[in-house]
Protein backbone atom coordinates (compact mmCIF):
# COMPACT_ATOMS: atom_id res chain seq x y z
CA UNK A 1 0.00 0.00 0.00
CA UNK A 2 1.39 3.39 -0.88
CA UNK A 3 0.90 6.21 1.54
CA UNK A 4 1.27 9.88 0.68
CA UNK A 5 4.57 11.32 1.73
CA UNK A 6 4.13 14.06 4.36
CA UNK A 7 5.25 16.92 2.13
CA UNK A 8 2.68 16.04 -0.52
CA UNK A 9 -0.32 16.67 1.68
CA UNK A 10 -2.10 19.79 0.60
CA UNK A 11 -1.47 22.84 2.72
CA UNK A 12 -3.66 25.11 0.60
CA UNK A 13 -6.69 22.98 1.12
CA UNK A 14 -6.34 22.09 4.76
CA UNK A 15 -6.43 25.78 5.65
CA UNK A 16 -9.94 26.06 4.18
CA UNK A 17 -13.12 24.91 5.87
CA UNK A 18 -14.26 21.33 5.35
CA UNK A 19 -17.23 21.21 2.96
CA UNK A 20 -17.87 17.49 2.67
CA UNK A 21 -16.41 14.55 4.52
CA UNK A 22 -16.97 10.83 4.19
CA UNK A 23 -15.78 8.57 7.00
CA UNK A 24 -15.25 4.83 6.77
CA UNK A 25 -17.85 4.18 4.08
CA UNK A 26 -18.74 0.55 3.56
CA UNK A 27 -20.98 -1.02 0.94
CA UNK A 28 -21.32 -4.58 -0.31
CA UNK A 29 -23.40 -5.88 -3.20
CA UNK A 30 -23.93 -9.47 -2.17
CA UNK A 31 -20.46 -10.99 -2.17
CA UNK A 32 -18.89 -8.03 -3.98
CA UNK A 33 -17.41 -5.42 -1.69
CA UNK A 34 -17.61 -2.09 -3.49
CA UNK A 35 -16.54 0.08 -0.54
CA UNK A 36 -14.40 -1.24 2.29
CA UNK A 37 -13.97 1.76 4.54
CA UNK A 38 -13.40 4.62 2.13
CA UNK A 39 -12.85 8.15 3.45
CA UNK A 40 -12.74 11.46 1.66
CA UNK A 41 -12.34 15.10 2.68
CA UNK A 42 -13.37 17.96 0.46
CA UNK A 43 -12.60 21.54 1.45
CA UNK A 44 -14.46 24.64 0.49
CA UNK A 45 -13.49 25.80 -3.00
CA UNK A 46 -11.29 22.78 -3.53
CA UNK A 47 -11.16 20.54 -6.60
CA UNK A 48 -10.34 16.96 -5.68
CA UNK A 49 -9.58 14.34 -8.28
CA UNK A 50 -10.86 10.91 -7.25
CA UNK A 51 -8.61 8.35 -8.90
CA UNK A 52 -8.40 4.59 -9.07
CA UNK A 53 -8.54 1.66 -11.41
CA UNK A 54 -11.84 0.35 -12.76
CA UNK A 55 -13.79 -1.30 -9.96
CA UNK A 56 -11.96 0.64 -7.25
CA UNK A 57 -15.28 1.94 -5.93
CA UNK A 58 -15.25 5.53 -7.16
CA UNK A 59 -18.72 5.49 -8.70
CA UNK A 60 -20.17 3.74 -5.68
CA UNK A 61 -18.71 6.34 -3.34
CA UNK A 62 -20.18 9.08 -5.50
CA UNK A 63 -23.55 7.37 -5.58
CA UNK A 64 -23.48 7.23 -1.77
CA UNK A 65 -22.86 10.98 -1.55
CA UNK A 66 -25.67 11.50 -4.05
CA UNK A 67 -28.28 9.43 -2.24
CA UNK A 68 -28.57 6.73 -4.90
CA UNK A 69 -26.75 4.09 -2.89
CA UNK A 70 -27.38 3.60 0.82
CA UNK A 71 -24.19 2.80 2.71
CA UNK A 72 -24.03 -0.30 4.92
CA UNK A 73 -22.12 1.84 7.39
CA UNK A 74 -20.16 5.09 7.49
CA UNK A 75 -20.82 8.79 7.95
CA UNK A 76 -21.24 11.60 5.48
CA UNK A 77 -21.12 15.21 6.67
CA UNK A 78 -21.85 18.37 4.76
CA UNK A 79 -20.58 21.61 6.35
CA UNK A 80 -20.09 19.77 9.62
CA UNK A 81 -23.62 18.44 9.81
CA UNK A 82 -24.55 14.80 9.24
CA UNK A 83 -26.06 14.35 5.79
CA UNK A 84 -29.16 12.19 5.85
CA UNK A 85 -29.86 11.05 2.30
CA UNK A 86 -33.01 9.06 1.77
CA UNK A 87 -33.14 9.79 -1.96
CA UNK A 88 -31.26 11.65 -4.69
CA UNK A 89 -33.75 14.47 -4.25
CA UNK A 90 -32.33 15.01 -0.73
CA UNK A 91 -28.83 15.46 -2.13
CA UNK A 92 -30.04 17.99 -4.67
CA UNK A 93 -31.91 19.83 -1.95
CA UNK A 94 -28.65 20.00 0.05
CA UNK A 95 -26.91 21.69 -2.86
CA UNK A 96 -25.04 18.68 -4.23
CA UNK A 97 -25.24 18.20 -7.99
CA UNK A 98 -23.79 15.31 -9.96
CA UNK A 99 -22.80 14.48 -13.52
CA UNK A 100 -23.07 10.70 -13.63
CA UNK A 101 -20.91 8.35 -15.61
CA UNK A 102 -22.23 7.29 -19.04
CA UNK A 103 -24.13 10.33 -20.33
CA UNK A 104 -26.96 10.56 -17.86
CA UNK A 105 -29.44 12.48 -20.01
CA UNK A 106 -32.93 11.81 -21.32
CA UNK A 107 -32.50 11.19 -25.04
CA UNK A 108 -36.20 11.65 -25.70
CA UNK A 109 -36.40 15.11 -24.13
CA UNK A 110 -35.21 18.47 -25.40
CA UNK A 111 -32.15 20.40 -24.26
CA UNK A 112 -34.05 22.73 -21.95
CA UNK A 113 -36.19 19.83 -20.62
CA UNK A 114 -33.01 18.02 -19.66
CA UNK A 115 -31.49 21.12 -18.17
CA UNK A 116 -34.44 21.83 -15.89
CA UNK A 117 -35.57 18.29 -15.13
CA UNK A 118 -36.96 18.09 -11.60
CA UNK A 119 -36.84 21.87 -11.23
CA UNK A 120 -39.63 22.92 -13.54
CA UNK A 121 -41.78 25.80 -12.43
CA UNK A 122 -45.47 25.18 -12.77
CA UNK A 123 -48.53 27.34 -12.76
CA UNK A 124 -50.70 27.50 -10.77
CA UNK A 125 -48.53 26.34 -7.91
CA UNK A 126 -51.27 24.56 -5.95
CA UNK A 127 -51.75 22.08 -8.76
CA UNK A 128 -48.27 20.73 -8.05
CA UNK A 129 -46.95 18.45 -10.80
CA UNK A 130 -50.24 18.87 -12.66
CA UNK A 131 -49.59 22.57 -13.07
CA UNK A 132 -48.73 23.95 -16.50
CA UNK A 133 -45.20 24.49 -17.76
CA UNK A 134 -44.12 27.54 -19.70
CA UNK A 135 -41.96 26.56 -22.67
CA UNK A 136 -40.99 30.17 -23.36
CA UNK A 137 -39.75 30.77 -19.84
CA UNK A 138 -37.84 27.48 -19.80
CA UNK A 139 -36.04 28.32 -23.02
CA UNK A 140 -35.09 31.71 -21.59
CA UNK A 141 -33.70 30.02 -18.48
CA UNK A 142 -31.59 27.76 -20.69
CA UNK A 143 -30.23 30.68 -22.71
CA UNK A 144 -29.25 32.55 -19.55
CA UNK A 145 -27.23 29.65 -18.19
CA UNK A 146 -25.91 28.27 -21.45
CA UNK A 147 -24.11 31.39 -22.59
CA UNK A 148 -20.99 30.17 -20.78
CA UNK A 149 -21.08 26.77 -22.42
CA UNK A 150 -20.09 25.23 -25.69
CA UNK A 151 -23.72 24.37 -26.36
CA UNK A 152 -25.05 27.89 -26.16
CA UNK A 153 -25.72 27.93 -29.91
CA UNK A 154 -27.86 24.78 -29.66
CA UNK A 155 -31.56 25.45 -29.71
CA UNK A 156 -33.17 24.68 -26.34
CA UNK A 157 -36.00 22.94 -28.17
CA UNK A 158 -33.71 20.46 -29.88
CA UNK A 159 -34.11 16.82 -28.87
CA UNK A 160 -30.97 15.80 -27.03
CA UNK A 161 -30.91 12.25 -28.43
CA UNK A 162 -30.00 13.66 -31.82
CA UNK A 163 -26.96 15.55 -30.53
CA UNK A 164 -23.35 14.40 -30.38
CA UNK A 165 -21.89 12.86 -27.23
CA UNK A 166 -19.97 16.01 -26.42
CA UNK A 167 -22.99 18.25 -26.72
CA UNK A 168 -25.07 15.92 -24.59
CA UNK A 169 -22.40 15.77 -21.91
CA UNK A 170 -22.16 19.55 -21.96
CA UNK A 171 -25.87 19.77 -21.20
CA UNK A 172 -25.47 17.29 -18.34
CA UNK A 173 -22.59 19.35 -16.96
CA UNK A 174 -24.56 22.55 -17.36
CA UNK A 175 -27.43 21.01 -15.41
CA UNK A 176 -25.13 20.21 -12.48
CA UNK A 177 -23.13 23.42 -12.54
CA UNK A 178 -26.03 25.81 -12.85
CA UNK A 179 -27.92 24.57 -9.83
CA UNK A 180 -25.22 23.38 -7.42
CA UNK A 181 -24.89 25.42 -4.24
CA UNK A 182 -22.23 23.44 -2.35
CA UNK A 183 -20.66 20.55 -4.22
CA UNK A 184 -20.36 19.49 -7.86
CA UNK A 185 -19.46 15.86 -8.57
CA UNK A 186 -18.36 14.76 -12.03
CA UNK A 187 -17.88 11.05 -12.75
CA UNK A 188 -15.63 10.70 -15.80
CA UNK A 189 -17.11 13.75 -17.52
CA UNK A 190 -14.63 13.73 -20.40
CA UNK A 191 -14.46 9.98 -21.04
CA UNK A 192 -16.47 10.09 -24.26
CA UNK A 193 -15.33 13.47 -25.52
CA UNK A 194 -12.96 14.87 -28.12
CA UNK A 195 -10.14 17.29 -27.36
CA UNK A 196 -12.05 20.51 -27.84
CA UNK A 197 -15.12 19.33 -25.95
CA UNK A 198 -13.01 18.14 -23.01
CA UNK A 199 -11.25 21.44 -23.02
CA UNK A 200 -14.45 23.43 -22.67
CA UNK A 201 -15.67 21.29 -19.80
CA UNK A 202 -12.36 21.46 -17.93
CA UNK A 203 -12.25 25.24 -18.29
CA UNK A 204 -15.69 25.45 -16.82
CA UNK A 205 -14.82 23.14 -13.92
CA UNK A 206 -11.73 25.23 -13.10
CA UNK A 207 -13.93 28.27 -12.57
CA UNK A 208 -16.34 26.63 -10.11
CA UNK A 209 -14.33 27.50 -6.93
CA UNK A 210 -14.87 31.20 -7.74
CA UNK A 211 -18.49 30.57 -6.83
CA UNK A 212 -17.50 28.93 -3.55
CA UNK A 213 -18.24 25.47 -4.93
CA UNK A 214 -16.22 22.37 -4.14
CA UNK A 215 -15.64 19.76 -6.81
CA UNK A 216 -15.02 16.03 -6.94
CA UNK A 217 -13.92 14.87 -10.36
CA UNK A 218 -13.26 11.29 -11.46
CA UNK A 219 -10.97 10.90 -14.44
CA UNK A 220 -8.56 8.43 -16.00
CA UNK A 221 -6.75 11.17 -17.89
CA UNK A 222 -3.82 12.40 -15.75
CA UNK A 223 -3.30 15.45 -17.96
CA UNK A 224 -6.86 16.50 -17.24
CA UNK A 225 -6.33 15.86 -13.53
CA UNK A 226 -3.22 18.05 -13.47
CA UNK A 227 -5.06 20.81 -15.31
CA UNK A 228 -7.99 21.12 -12.91
CA UNK A 229 -7.37 19.44 -9.58
CA UNK A 230 -5.80 20.84 -6.39
CA UNK A 231 -5.47 17.48 -4.77
CA UNK A 232 -5.82 13.84 -5.77
CA UNK A 233 -7.25 11.01 -3.69
CA UNK A 234 -6.55 7.49 -4.82
CA UNK A 235 -8.85 4.53 -4.19
CA UNK A 236 -8.08 0.86 -4.49
CA UNK A 237 -10.40 -2.08 -3.69
CA UNK A 238 -12.94 0.11 -1.96
CA UNK A 239 -10.48 2.02 0.23
CA UNK A 240 -8.77 5.38 0.01
CA UNK A 241 -5.11 4.43 -0.17
CA UNK A 242 -3.35 7.75 -0.61
CA UNK A 243 -3.48 11.38 -1.55
CA UNK A 244 -1.23 13.94 -3.18
CA UNK A 245 -1.14 17.63 -3.92
CA UNK A 246 -1.45 18.09 -7.65
CA UNK A 247 1.24 20.15 -9.39
CA UNK A 248 2.65 20.27 -12.89
CA UNK A 249 4.48 17.08 -13.74
CA UNK A 250 3.02 14.74 -11.09
CA UNK A 251 1.34 12.60 -13.75
CA UNK A 252 3.81 9.73 -13.31
CA UNK A 253 3.51 9.77 -9.52
CA UNK A 254 -0.26 9.67 -9.77
CA UNK A 255 -0.16 6.68 -12.08
CA UNK A 256 2.26 4.92 -9.74
CA UNK A 257 -0.02 5.55 -6.81
CA UNK A 258 -3.05 4.22 -8.71
CA UNK A 259 -1.17 1.08 -9.71
CA UNK A 260 0.11 0.60 -6.17
CA UNK A 261 3.78 0.77 -7.18
CA UNK A 262 5.81 2.35 -4.42
Amino acid sequence: MSVASPDSISNVASAARLALSVRDARKAYGFVTALAGASLDLHEGEIVALLGDNGAGKSTLIKAITGIVTLDSGDIELDGRPLRLRSPADARASGIETVFQDLAVFDNLTVSDNFLIGREQTWPRWLGPLGLLSAGQEQRQWREHASALSVSHVSPSQEIGLMSGGQRQAVAVARAVAFARRVVILDEPTAALGVRESDEILTMVRRLPERGLSVIIVSHNMDHVVRVADRAVVMRQGRSVGEMTVRQGVQKDLVAMIMGVT
Binding site: F100, F106, L109, I117, G118, L132
Partner: protein
Amino acid sequence: MEAHVDIAGKSSETAAGRRDYLSVLLWLLQAGPIIILVTLVVAFGLLAPHFISVRNLQNLLAQSAIVCALGLGQFLVILVRGVDVSVGSVIALSVVTVATLTGVDQPSSVALVIYPLVGLIVGLINGFLIVKGGIPQPLVVTVAMLGIVAGVALLISGGNTLVGVSPAVHWLANGKVLGIPAGALMVLVLAGLFWLMLRRTQWGRWLYAVGGNPDVAQWVGLPRDRLIMSAYAICGTTAGIAGMLYHGRTGSASPLSGIGYELDAITAVVVGGASLFGGRGSITNVLFGALIIATIRSGLQQLDVSPFWSSVAIGIGILLALELDVLRKHIETRIRTLRARQVSQ
Protein backbone atom coordinates in the same frame (compact mmCIF):
# COMPACT_ATOMS: atom_id res chain seq x y z
CA MET B 1 -23.03 24.92 -35.87
CA GLU B 2 -22.24 27.29 -38.75
CA ALA B 3 -18.81 28.02 -37.32
CA HIS B 4 -17.88 24.34 -37.44
CA VAL B 5 -18.96 23.95 -41.04
CA ASP B 6 -16.61 26.76 -42.11
CA ILE B 7 -13.60 25.03 -40.65
CA ALA B 8 -14.61 21.51 -41.50
CA GLY B 9 -15.13 22.10 -45.18
CA LYS B 10 -16.36 19.63 -47.75
CA SER B 11 -16.68 16.30 -46.00
CA SER B 12 -18.81 17.75 -43.25
CA GLU B 13 -21.07 19.34 -45.84
CA THR B 14 -21.87 15.90 -47.22
CA ALA B 15 -22.33 14.67 -43.65
CA ALA B 16 -24.79 17.49 -43.10
CA GLY B 17 -26.54 16.51 -46.33
CA ARG B 18 -26.92 12.91 -45.21
CA ARG B 19 -28.16 14.12 -41.87
CA ASP B 20 -30.85 16.24 -43.47
CA TYR B 21 -31.97 13.28 -45.54
CA LEU B 22 -32.09 11.13 -42.41
CA SER B 23 -34.00 13.84 -40.57
CA VAL B 24 -36.65 13.82 -43.29
CA LEU B 25 -36.90 10.04 -42.97
CA LEU B 26 -37.29 10.40 -39.23
CA TRP B 27 -40.02 12.95 -39.71
CA LEU B 28 -41.81 10.63 -42.15
CA LEU B 29 -41.69 7.85 -39.57
CA GLN B 30 -43.24 10.12 -36.99
CA ALA B 31 -45.98 11.16 -39.41
CA GLY B 32 -46.44 7.50 -40.42
CA PRO B 33 -49.72 6.73 -38.64
CA ILE B 34 -51.69 9.59 -40.21
CA ILE B 35 -50.23 8.81 -43.64
CA ILE B 36 -51.23 5.15 -43.28
CA LEU B 37 -54.71 6.08 -42.05
CA VAL B 38 -55.40 8.44 -44.95
CA THR B 39 -54.04 5.92 -47.45
CA LEU B 40 -56.26 3.18 -46.03
CA VAL B 41 -59.38 5.37 -46.05
CA VAL B 42 -58.76 6.46 -49.65
CA ALA B 43 -58.00 2.90 -50.78
CA PHE B 44 -61.09 1.41 -49.17
CA GLY B 45 -63.12 4.37 -50.44
CA LEU B 46 -62.08 3.56 -54.01
CA LEU B 47 -62.54 -0.19 -53.64
CA ALA B 48 -65.77 -0.31 -51.61
CA PRO B 49 -68.50 2.03 -52.83
CA HIS B 50 -70.23 2.47 -49.47
CA PHE B 51 -67.12 2.80 -47.34
CA ILE B 52 -67.10 6.59 -47.34
CA SER B 53 -70.74 7.06 -46.38
CA VAL B 54 -71.93 9.04 -43.37
CA ARG B 55 -73.47 5.94 -41.85
CA ASN B 56 -70.37 3.84 -42.21
CA LEU B 57 -68.06 6.56 -40.94
CA GLN B 58 -70.33 7.12 -37.92
CA ASN B 59 -70.22 3.43 -37.27
CA LEU B 60 -66.47 3.33 -37.61
CA LEU B 61 -66.02 6.17 -35.10
CA ALA B 62 -68.44 4.66 -32.60
CA GLN B 63 -66.71 1.30 -32.86
CA SER B 64 -63.24 2.72 -32.44
CA ALA B 65 -64.24 4.80 -29.39
CA ILE B 66 -63.81 1.84 -27.05
CA VAL B 67 -60.36 0.98 -28.38
CA CYS B 68 -59.43 4.68 -28.35
CA ALA B 69 -60.35 4.95 -24.67
CA LEU B 70 -58.35 1.83 -23.86
CA GLY B 71 -55.46 3.07 -25.99
CA LEU B 72 -55.17 6.38 -24.12
CA GLY B 73 -54.43 4.65 -20.83
CA GLN B 74 -52.41 1.86 -22.40
CA PHE B 75 -50.19 4.48 -23.99
CA LEU B 76 -49.20 5.90 -20.59
CA VAL B 77 -48.21 2.44 -19.39
CA ILE B 78 -46.23 1.65 -22.55
CA LEU B 79 -44.62 5.08 -22.26
CA VAL B 80 -43.06 4.02 -18.95
CA ARG B 81 -41.88 0.70 -20.45
CA GLY B 82 -44.76 -1.37 -19.12
CA VAL B 83 -47.80 -3.06 -20.56
CA ASP B 84 -51.24 -3.76 -19.11
CA VAL B 85 -53.10 -6.77 -20.49
CA SER B 86 -55.70 -6.78 -17.71
CA VAL B 87 -57.80 -4.06 -19.37
CA GLY B 88 -60.06 -6.49 -21.21
CA SER B 89 -61.20 -8.09 -17.98
CA VAL B 90 -61.56 -4.64 -16.36
CA ILE B 91 -64.28 -4.03 -18.95
CA ALA B 92 -66.06 -7.16 -17.74
CA LEU B 93 -65.63 -6.33 -14.06
CA SER B 94 -66.83 -2.72 -14.40
CA VAL B 95 -69.88 -3.74 -16.41
CA VAL B 96 -70.82 -6.53 -14.03
CA THR B 97 -70.22 -4.40 -10.92
CA VAL B 98 -72.46 -1.61 -12.18
CA ALA B 99 -75.21 -4.03 -13.18
CA THR B 100 -75.07 -5.76 -9.81
CA LEU B 101 -74.87 -2.62 -7.68
CA THR B 102 -77.40 -0.39 -9.40
CA GLY B 103 -79.69 -2.99 -10.96
CA VAL B 104 -80.62 -2.74 -14.59
CA ASP B 105 -84.18 -1.56 -14.23
CA GLN B 106 -83.21 1.23 -11.85
CA PRO B 107 -81.16 3.47 -14.05
CA SER B 108 -78.80 5.54 -11.95
CA SER B 109 -76.25 8.15 -12.83
CA VAL B 110 -74.09 6.91 -9.96
CA ALA B 111 -73.16 4.22 -12.45
CA LEU B 112 -71.19 6.79 -14.43
CA VAL B 113 -68.76 7.03 -11.52
CA ILE B 114 -68.61 3.33 -10.75
CA TYR B 115 -67.17 2.21 -14.09
CA PRO B 116 -64.00 4.32 -13.87
CA LEU B 117 -63.74 3.71 -10.13
CA VAL B 118 -63.61 -0.06 -10.59
CA GLY B 119 -60.91 0.46 -13.22
CA LEU B 120 -58.97 2.79 -10.95
CA ILE B 121 -58.88 0.21 -8.17
CA VAL B 122 -57.60 -2.54 -10.47
CA GLY B 123 -55.06 -0.10 -11.95
CA LEU B 124 -53.78 0.86 -8.50
CA ILE B 125 -53.34 -2.80 -7.60
CA ASN B 126 -51.43 -3.40 -10.85
CA GLY B 127 -49.21 -0.40 -10.21
CA PHE B 128 -48.59 -1.35 -6.60
CA LEU B 129 -47.61 -4.92 -7.47
CA ILE B 130 -45.24 -3.78 -10.21
CA VAL B 131 -43.59 -0.97 -8.24
CA LYS B 132 -43.59 -2.30 -4.68
CA GLY B 133 -43.93 -6.02 -5.30
CA GLY B 134 -40.49 -6.15 -6.80
CA ILE B 135 -41.71 -8.16 -9.79
CA PRO B 136 -39.76 -6.68 -12.68
CA GLN B 137 -42.01 -8.07 -15.41
CA PRO B 138 -45.24 -6.03 -15.86
CA LEU B 139 -46.54 -8.43 -18.51
CA VAL B 140 -46.67 -11.34 -16.08
CA VAL B 141 -48.21 -9.27 -13.29
CA THR B 142 -51.00 -8.00 -15.51
CA VAL B 143 -51.59 -11.43 -17.04
CA ALA B 144 -52.20 -12.69 -13.52
CA MET B 145 -54.52 -9.75 -12.88
CA LEU B 146 -56.33 -10.49 -16.16
CA GLY B 147 -57.21 -13.91 -14.78
CA ILE B 148 -58.07 -12.70 -11.29
CA VAL B 149 -60.27 -9.84 -12.46
CA ALA B 150 -62.06 -12.03 -15.02
CA GLY B 151 -62.69 -14.56 -12.25
CA VAL B 152 -64.04 -11.93 -9.89
CA ALA B 153 -66.39 -10.71 -12.63
CA LEU B 154 -67.71 -14.26 -12.99
CA LEU B 155 -68.07 -14.64 -9.22
CA ILE B 156 -69.96 -11.35 -8.80
CA SER B 157 -72.33 -12.11 -11.63
CA GLY B 158 -72.65 -15.81 -10.85
CA GLY B 159 -71.91 -16.29 -14.54
CA ASN B 160 -75.17 -14.62 -15.53
CA THR B 161 -75.70 -11.89 -18.06
CA LEU B 162 -77.96 -9.05 -16.91
CA VAL B 163 -79.77 -7.43 -19.81
CA GLY B 164 -80.31 -3.67 -19.77
CA VAL B 165 -78.33 -0.52 -19.23
CA SER B 166 -79.01 2.95 -17.82
CA PRO B 167 -80.28 5.47 -20.41
CA ALA B 168 -77.38 7.86 -19.84
CA VAL B 169 -74.86 5.15 -20.62
CA HIS B 170 -76.93 3.98 -23.56
CA TRP B 171 -76.95 7.49 -24.97
CA LEU B 172 -73.22 7.97 -24.48
CA ALA B 173 -72.53 4.82 -26.46
CA ASN B 174 -75.16 5.20 -29.17
CA GLY B 175 -76.31 8.84 -29.22
CA LYS B 176 -75.04 11.51 -31.59
CA VAL B 177 -74.19 15.18 -31.27
CA LEU B 178 -74.42 17.00 -34.61
CA GLY B 179 -74.11 13.65 -36.34
CA ILE B 180 -70.98 12.67 -34.45
CA PRO B 181 -71.23 9.67 -32.11
CA ALA B 182 -71.33 10.89 -28.49
CA GLY B 183 -68.87 8.21 -27.37
CA ALA B 184 -66.34 9.35 -29.96
CA LEU B 185 -66.75 12.95 -28.83
CA MET B 186 -66.27 11.97 -25.20
CA VAL B 187 -63.08 10.10 -26.07
CA LEU B 188 -61.88 13.06 -28.12
CA VAL B 189 -62.34 15.39 -25.15
CA LEU B 190 -60.54 12.86 -22.97
CA ALA B 191 -57.72 12.67 -25.52
CA GLY B 192 -57.44 16.47 -25.45
CA LEU B 193 -57.09 16.34 -21.68
CA PHE B 194 -54.44 13.62 -21.94
CA TRP B 195 -52.54 15.62 -24.54
CA LEU B 196 -52.54 18.64 -22.25
CA MET B 197 -51.38 16.63 -19.25
CA LEU B 198 -48.63 14.84 -21.17
CA ARG B 199 -47.27 17.78 -23.12
CA ARG B 200 -47.88 20.76 -20.90
CA THR B 201 -47.55 19.61 -17.30
CA GLN B 202 -44.63 18.61 -15.13
CA TRP B 203 -46.22 15.21 -14.52
CA GLY B 204 -46.33 14.54 -18.25
CA ARG B 205 -42.73 15.51 -18.80
CA TRP B 206 -41.63 13.34 -15.89
CA LEU B 207 -43.56 10.42 -17.36
CA TYR B 208 -41.66 10.79 -20.63
CA ALA B 209 -38.43 11.09 -18.62
CA VAL B 210 -39.10 7.88 -16.68
CA GLY B 211 -39.87 6.07 -19.93
CA GLY B 212 -36.80 7.49 -21.64
CA ASN B 213 -34.35 6.56 -18.90
CA PRO B 214 -35.74 5.08 -15.67
CA ASP B 215 -32.36 4.98 -13.91
CA VAL B 216 -31.44 8.57 -14.60
CA ALA B 217 -34.97 9.59 -13.64
CA GLN B 218 -34.34 8.16 -10.21
CA TRP B 219 -30.84 9.64 -10.03
CA VAL B 220 -32.08 13.16 -10.64
CA GLY B 221 -34.68 12.65 -7.93
CA LEU B 222 -37.93 12.17 -9.83
CA PRO B 223 -40.58 10.16 -7.90
CA ARG B 224 -40.19 7.26 -10.32
CA ASP B 225 -42.33 4.71 -8.49
CA ARG B 226 -45.23 7.08 -8.00
CA LEU B 227 -45.08 8.11 -11.65
CA ILE B 228 -45.24 4.50 -12.80
CA MET B 229 -48.12 3.82 -10.39
CA SER B 230 -50.02 6.80 -11.76
CA ALA B 231 -49.70 5.41 -15.30
CA TYR B 232 -51.24 2.09 -14.29
CA ALA B 233 -53.94 3.79 -12.23
CA ILE B 234 -54.98 5.93 -15.19
CA CYS B 235 -54.80 2.96 -17.54
CA GLY B 236 -57.25 1.12 -15.29
CA THR B 237 -59.51 4.16 -15.18
CA THR B 238 -59.70 4.47 -18.96
CA ALA B 239 -60.44 0.73 -19.12
CA GLY B 240 -63.40 1.41 -16.81
CA ILE B 241 -64.56 4.17 -19.15
CA ALA B 242 -64.19 1.75 -22.06
CA GLY B 243 -66.34 -0.66 -20.03
CA MET B 244 -69.05 2.00 -19.83
CA LEU B 245 -69.07 2.44 -23.62
CA TYR B 246 -69.06 -1.34 -24.05
CA HIS B 247 -72.03 -1.70 -21.70
CA GLY B 248 -73.92 0.98 -23.59
CA ARG B 249 -73.25 -0.61 -26.97
CA THR B 250 -74.13 -4.17 -26.03
CA GLY B 251 -76.98 -3.18 -23.72
CA SER B 252 -76.20 -6.02 -21.35
CA ALA B 253 -73.72 -6.91 -18.65
CA SER B 254 -71.93 -10.14 -19.41
CA PRO B 255 -69.01 -11.38 -17.29
CA LEU B 256 -67.38 -12.34 -20.58
CA SER B 257 -67.39 -8.74 -21.86
CA GLY B 258 -64.26 -7.23 -23.35
CA ILE B 259 -62.35 -10.44 -24.04
CA GLY B 260 -59.55 -9.75 -26.50
CA TYR B 261 -59.76 -5.96 -26.22
CA GLU B 262 -56.39 -5.76 -24.50
CA LEU B 263 -54.81 -6.83 -27.77
CA ASP B 264 -56.62 -4.11 -29.73
CA ALA B 265 -55.53 -1.52 -27.18
CA ILE B 266 -51.88 -2.52 -27.32
CA THR B 267 -52.05 -2.75 -31.11
CA ALA B 268 -53.51 0.75 -31.35
CA VAL B 269 -50.64 2.14 -29.29
CA VAL B 270 -47.93 0.27 -31.17
CA VAL B 271 -49.38 0.90 -34.64
CA GLY B 272 -49.65 4.53 -33.52
CA GLY B 273 -45.87 4.54 -33.32
CA ALA B 274 -45.28 4.46 -29.57
CA SER B 275 -42.06 2.67 -28.74
CA LEU B 276 -41.99 -0.46 -26.61
CA PHE B 277 -38.53 0.76 -25.59
CA GLY B 278 -40.39 3.50 -23.70
CA GLY B 279 -40.44 7.28 -23.72
CA ARG B 280 -41.71 7.75 -27.27
CA GLY B 281 -45.08 8.36 -28.84
CA SER B 282 -47.96 10.80 -28.85
CA ILE B 283 -51.63 10.81 -27.95
CA THR B 284 -52.74 11.88 -31.43
CA ASN B 285 -50.90 8.95 -32.98
CA VAL B 286 -52.60 6.58 -30.53
CA LEU B 287 -55.98 7.81 -31.82
CA PHE B 288 -54.76 7.29 -35.39
CA GLY B 289 -53.59 3.81 -34.42
CA ALA B 290 -57.05 2.93 -33.07
CA LEU B 291 -58.67 4.34 -36.20
CA ILE B 292 -56.30 2.34 -38.41
CA ILE B 293 -57.45 -0.89 -36.74
CA ALA B 294 -61.12 0.06 -37.04
CA THR B 295 -60.63 1.05 -40.68
CA ILE B 296 -58.94 -2.22 -41.58
CA ARG B 297 -61.73 -4.21 -39.89
CA SER B 298 -64.57 -2.20 -41.40
CA GLY B 299 -62.97 -1.90 -44.86
CA LEU B 300 -62.31 -5.62 -45.22
CA GLN B 301 -65.84 -6.29 -44.00
CA GLN B 302 -67.23 -3.97 -46.70
CA LEU B 303 -65.19 -5.82 -49.27
CA ASP B 304 -66.72 -9.10 -48.04
CA VAL B 305 -63.34 -10.40 -47.04
CA SER B 306 -63.47 -13.00 -44.27
CA PRO B 307 -62.93 -11.38 -40.85
CA PHE B 308 -60.17 -13.92 -40.29
CA TRP B 309 -58.11 -11.94 -42.75
CA SER B 310 -58.42 -8.76 -40.74
CA SER B 311 -56.77 -10.58 -37.84
CA VAL B 312 -53.90 -11.46 -40.14
CA ALA B 313 -53.70 -7.91 -41.53
CA ILE B 314 -53.66 -6.36 -38.06
CA GLY B 315 -51.04 -8.84 -36.89
CA ILE B 316 -48.82 -7.91 -39.82
CA GLY B 317 -49.48 -4.27 -38.98
CA ILE B 318 -48.10 -4.78 -35.46
CA LEU B 319 -44.94 -6.45 -36.74
CA LEU B 320 -44.42 -3.70 -39.32
CA ALA B 321 -44.85 -1.02 -36.66
CA LEU B 322 -42.32 -2.74 -34.39
CA GLU B 323 -39.77 -2.98 -37.20
CA LEU B 324 -40.30 0.68 -38.06
CA ASP B 325 -39.56 1.52 -34.43
CA VAL B 326 -36.27 -0.38 -34.64
CA LEU B 327 -35.53 1.52 -37.86
CA ARG B 328 -36.25 4.80 -36.05
CA LYS B 329 -33.73 3.95 -33.34
CA HIS B 330 -31.19 3.08 -36.00
CA ILE B 331 -31.70 6.38 -37.83
CA GLU B 332 -31.34 8.36 -34.62
CA THR B 333 -28.03 6.68 -33.89
CA ARG B 334 -26.83 7.48 -37.43
CA ILE B 335 -27.78 11.13 -37.05
CA ARG B 336 -25.92 11.26 -33.76
CA THR B 337 -22.70 9.79 -35.16
CA LEU B 338 -22.83 12.05 -38.21
CA ARG B 339 -23.24 15.01 -35.93
CA ALA B 340 -20.37 13.93 -33.70
CA ARG B 341 -18.12 13.52 -36.75
CA GLN B 342 -19.07 16.98 -37.91
CA VAL B 343 -18.26 18.54 -34.56
CA SER B 344 -14.92 16.78 -34.14
CA GLN B 345 -13.70 17.78 -37.59
